[in-house]
Subunit: 343 residues, 4 copies
Amino acid sequence: MLVVFKPGASADDRAKLVAAVRAAGCQTREVDGNGRAIVAVVGDLETLRDTPLDVFAGVASVIRLTKPYSLAGKEFRADRSVVRVGDVMVGGGDRFTLVAGPCAVESYETLLETARAVKAAGASILRGGAYKPRTSPYAFRGLGLEGLRMLREASRAVGIPTVSEVTDPRHVEACVSNVDMLQIGTRNMSNFDLLVEVGKSGHPVMLKRGRDATVEDWLLAAEYVLSQGNMKVVLCERGVRGFDPATRNLLDLAAVAVVRARSHLPVMVDPSHATGVAAYVAPMARAACAAGADGVMVEVHCRREEARCDAAQALSPEDFAELAGDLRLLHGVLHPAAAAKAH
Amino acid sequence: MLVVFKPGASADDRAKLVAAVRAAGCQTREVDGNGRAIVAVVGDLETLRDTPLDVFAGVASVIRLTKPYSLAGKEFRADRSVVRVGDVMVGGGDRFTLVAGPCAVESYETLLETARAVKAAGASILRGGAYKPRTSPYAFRGLGLEGLRMLREASRAVGIPTVSEVTDPRHVEACVSNVDMLQIGTRNMSNFDLLVEVGKSGHPVMLKRGRDATVEDWLLAAEYVLSQGNMKVVLCERGVRGFDPATRNLLDLAAVAVVRARSHLPVMVDPSHATGVAAYVAPMARAACAAGADGVMVEVHCRREEARCDAAQALSPEDFAELAGDLRLLHGVLHPAAAAKAH
Amino acid sequence: MLVVFKPGASADDRAKLVAAVRAAGCQTREVDGNGRAIVAVVGDLETLRDTPLDVFAGVASVIRLTKPYSLAGKEFRADRSVVRVGDVMVGGGDRFTLVAGPCAVESYETLLETARAVKAAGASILRGGAYKPRTSPYAFRGLGLEGLRMLREASRAVGIPTVSEVTDPRHVEACVSNVDMLQIGTRNMSNFDLLVEVGKSGHPVMLKRGRDATVEDWLLAAEYVLSQGNMKVVLCERGVRGFDPATRNLLDLAAVAVVRARSHLPVMVDPSHATGVAAYVAPMARAACAAGADGVMVEVHCRREEARCDAAQALSPEDFAELAGDLRLLHGVLHPAAAAKAH
Amino acid sequence: MLVVFKPGASADDRAKLVAAVRAAGCQTREVDGNGRAIVAVVGDLETLRDTPLDVFAGVASVIRLTKPYSLAGKEFRADRSVVRVGDVMVGGGDRFTLVAGPCAVESYETLLETARAVKAAGASILRGGAYKPRTSPYAFRGLGLEGLRMLREASRAVGIPTVSEVTDPRHVEACVSNVDMLQIGTRNMSNFDLLVEVGKSGHPVMLKRGRDATVEDWLLAAEYVLSQGNMKVVLCERGVRGFDPATRNLLDLAAVAVVRARSHLPVMVDPSHATGVAAYVAPMARAACAAGADGVMVEVHCRREEARCDAAQALSPEDFAELAGDLRLLHGVLHPAAAAKAH
C-alpha cells in the first residue's frame, strides 16, 4: 500500500500517519516522488483494514497494490476450477457447457417438453425460474415451491441436473433440496446476506454479474460465497446497464477475458438476458464461445406465445439445436484436443 | 396500448393478434400508419398482462401508453404525501428535513455524541447503520442487533427518531422494534422479497435508488412496498453508476424533478454516498435543496480518523452545522411562507 | 407517426394539431387509446420535419414509426454492401478482413517492417495514424503530412492498401491523395462538417462508433457520408464508455448483430482500442469473428517499447500471426463455402 | 511517477527500466511494497512522455502522481479566473451570469424579440446557433453565415454580447468577426484541431463538456485552448450520457464542485440540453446556482411552436423571467456581499 501526500504536507502530517501505521503493527518506508512524500506501508495490511488512512491530514491518496479478493484470485489457485453440478462438470478450460430452459417454470408439461428438447440438442443442465424477481409487483412472479418440485420431477424424468434462482435467504433450504445448482440473479449479486447463506449451504452456485458491478465487485461477491467454505462458484456475465435501447443490456464479453486473467473460477455467459432479443442470442452465444467462456445459458421455450416472462428473448427448441451445433463446431476448432476426447 | 405491425405483416397476422386480444376480453381499433397497420388495444389491459403480444407474427413493437405503477403515481394522489417518522413529518412540499449521523454505529459513546451534535445543528432524524452491506466480505459489516439497540438508546436519550438499513427479510422485525424508519439501501432496491416484507411491516421506509435503476424502476420498487398497504415511503436519490472516477457515483439531481413530476412521494437526496468526498457534500446538499428535494441525508462523524466505514465522505459536526445554516437560508428564500411558519 | 394526447386533452387541442398537420399536407386518423386520443399522421412526413408536434397543447408524446436513416438502412438495400479499398473487397457477408498496423506512423523503417509482417500474417489493409487525436495537448500528435507520405511509400513497397485517420476537413484532400481509405475516429463521429467533407471526397471511409453513440446515432453519422453520394462506408465498433476500469472502453459486440439486422453496411471491430490491453485483443477479435463482423482492425507494433502511442494495447507481429491463424479457422468453420473458395 | 512491478519481476527487469529512465535524464528511487518492487521516478517527467514504461517486462502498473493539465489547474493560479465577453465579466466566484436565447437563429425578427426579452429579464449574454450540429443530416442545420450576421445585428440593436457555436476550423474567422464568444459544443469537445484554432483566435471560448468526457478529459480539452495562449475559457457542464430516458442527458452537477476544486476556470451549466424538458430547466438552473456554478445558459424561445430545433426544452420569455428572479434571490442569499454590491 502506498500513501501519497499532497505537495504541501508537513513532516508532522507524515509522522502522524507513520505512527498510526506502526501502532497497527506494520512498517513504513518513505520515498520522494518529485516533491511529494510517498510512504510505502508493508507488513500484514489486514491489521489496517479499518483504519481510514485517506482521511489523515496531508494525504492526497492511498493506492492499494493487491487485489481485495484472495480466494477468487489466480494467486489462490494456478489451474482453472471445475465445479460439479449433479454429474456434470463445469469449467476447467476445455469444456463448453450448455445450460438451457424456460425463463420461468409455468407448467409441468411445458417444462418437461422443453427439458427433453434441450437435452436432445446437447444441453447438459436445465434452467427454470421458480422465484422470479420482476421489476413490477404486478407481473407473474413464479410458482415458488411448486415450481421447484416440478424442476426436480423433470430432472428425474429426463436425467438432467437443474439450476434455479434463489432470491431470499429463507428459500435456500427448499432450493437446495430440489435443484442441483442455485442461481444468484443480477439484482441480488450484492445481497450479501443471501450470498452468505448460499455459501453456507455448500451447494453449487451460479453467480450472475450485477448490472452495475465492475469485475472487481463481482469477484468480491464471489468471495462472499467462497469465504464460507463453498468453492463451487460459477460466474455468469449477463450484460451491464448501457445507454443504447437497441439491446436490453450491454453484454460485456471482455469481462470473460478479464475474469480468466484474474480468477480461476469458471465463467459463463447469458446472451438471452444480455440482449433481450431472440435474433441476437445466437451471434452472442457464438461470440462468448470464441471469447473463451466456459459455457452459455440460453432461454428456450416450446411455445413462445404462451410464455409469461421474457418471451421476446426465448429461442425455439429448433433454433437452440442449430445454435448448439454451431457451438460444438466453434469449440472444436478452438480446442481440438478436448473435442477429440468428447467423441 | 398500441401494437405496431411490420410493413409486410399480413391480414392473417393481424387477425390472430386481434383474436387473442378479444379472447382476453379487450377491444381493438385498427388504424393505418403510413403503410403499417396499427392496432389500438382498449379495455382492462390487466387481463393481457401475461400475454406477450410482442412475439406474435408480424408485430414490430408494442407501445404501452400508461405508467406501469399506479399507487406511486401522481394520478393516484394529487397533493404531495407526508410521511410521519416518530413525531417528525417528512415531505408535503414545504418542509426540508435533515437526516444525519454516522455511516455505521461503532460505539454507543460516539453515536450519542454525534446524535447530540446533529440534533443541535438542526437534524430531525438520526441515521446509523447496524447491518452494513460492504463490497468486501472482509470489511466491517456492522454491530447488528447490538447496533440497533444503541440506536434506540441514543434516540431516547437525545429525543430524535432514527433510521437504519435493513438488508435481510429475517431482520425486519428486529429493526421495526428498535428504529423509527427502515432504510432500503441501493444494493437492495431490487430485493423484492425484502421490499414485500418491509411493506407488510407498515413501518416508514426510506427507499434509496438502485445504482443502475431508472426513475421508473425506482417507482416500481416503491410500488412493491405500497402494494402491501404501506404508504409510508420516502424516496432517496444517492447517485447512479457513472464513468468518471472523480466522484464515487453520479448524483442525478434531475431525478428529483422527474419524481416530483410523476409521483406524490417525498424525495430526499444523499450527497455523501453520491460523491464519496466530504468537500463535495455541502455544494450537492445545497443543490438538492434548490432542486426541490424534501430533505437531505448526510453522514456526520465526530472522529473521522476512527470511522470504520466511509470516513472520506463524512462531515465533522461543525461543517454539518454550517451546512444546515445554509440550507435554512436557501429553503427560506425558496419557500418564504413555510419559513415564516417555522419561526 | 403517432401523436398521443394526455388524458385531459381537449377537442380543441386535437383540432389545432390536426390543422397544423393538414396545413403541411399530411393526413390524420384518430383512434381512442383507453381514454387518450391518438392521432396517426400519414402522408409525406418530411413536410413535418421542422414542426415540433411535441410542444402542441395537450400532447403527451410523439412516436415515430420509421427509422430516421434511409440510405444506411436495410430497406434501402437487401443484400450486404461490399466496399472496395484499393484492390481489396470489404464486406458482403462471407469475407473476413484483417486490418493491422501501428497506432501511429513513427518512422519509415518501423512502418515498413510492420507492414511486411502483417501482410505476411494475412492482413490485407495496413493501418497507421498520421494525425493522432490525443487527450492531452502535450502528447505526440503524429507526423502529419510526412506520415501520410510514409504510408503511401510503404503501401507501394509492400503492395498493401492503407487506411489512416482524418481529423480536420482541411486535411481531407491530402489524405485522399496518400491513403486508400479515410478513417473517422471515435472522437469525430459527430463532427458533421468532417463527415460531409469525406462524403464529398468519394473515398472509402471507415467510420468508428462514437464512445457515447447509440447504434442509431452511428447509422445517422453514416447517413451524413452516404447522403453526399459516397456509398463506400465501413462501420467499426470500438467500444463505448463503460464504468469498469478493467478495460479502456466497453466493447459492445451485440452492436455487430444490431447493425447486421438494421443496415447493409459492412461492420468491423477494433479490439485494440476497445480493451486497451494486449492480452484481451485476441479473445475479443475471435469473439468479433464469431459474432458476425466483417473483419477486425488490430494494432501491431514491431517494437512495443519504442511505441509513442498506445503501446500497452499493441500486439507483436508473432502474436498477430497466431491470431490471424485462429481467425481463419473460426471463419472457415462458420462460412465453410467462403473458406473453400479462398483456397 | 511510480512504477509498480509484478511480484515475480526480476532484478534484471528492474535494471532495464531504471536504465531507460536514467537515459531520459530522470532519477529513480526503489522501495519495497510487500514483496513487490516499486520504483519512484523523479526529475523532469516530460522527458519520459513518449516512453511507454508500462510495457517494460515485469511492470504491473505505472501510477502518475500529477495532473496531466497544468494551465487549467489550480496550481497554475490561486484565485478564480474572470473572462471578459464583450463588456460582461464571467467568473471570479461572486458573479452569476445568465446566458439565454434560442437554440438556433431562425429569423431576425424572432431573434430580436427574444434578445430584448432575455435582456429585460436579466440575461447578460445572448446565445443563438448559426451552425447547428444535428444528429440527422436531414434536420435543419442552421443559417450559417447569415445567422452570424443576424446575431451581430441583434447584439448591436439590443446592446448585449453574443455567443454562438463553431463546428469547423474553417468557420472560426467568420465567427470571431460576428460574435463575442465562441462555443465549442459537446460533440466537438475532442475535436482537437478545432480547439487549437479557437485557441489561436484569442477569442473568448465557452467549452461544453463532452457527453462521454470525465472532468479530467474536459480540463485537458481546455488545456488545448490555453496552451495556444488563449486564457479566456469558460467551461459549461451540460450532462453526460445516462441510461435513463427520463431526461435527455444526465446532468452531473457534482462536476461543478470537482471543477472548482481542481481548476481556476469559470464553470457554467446548461440545464436545457442536460434535461431536454422545459419543466426541469428551472429546478436544475436553481440547483446549478446553489452548487456554485458561475452562471447558467438557458434556451428561450418566443414562439416554441415555430422553433425548428429542440422546441421541447425551450422556456418562454415569461418563464425565463421568473427563473431569473429566483436565481437572483438564491445567489443573493449565498453571496450576500456580491448581491449588495450589485444594487
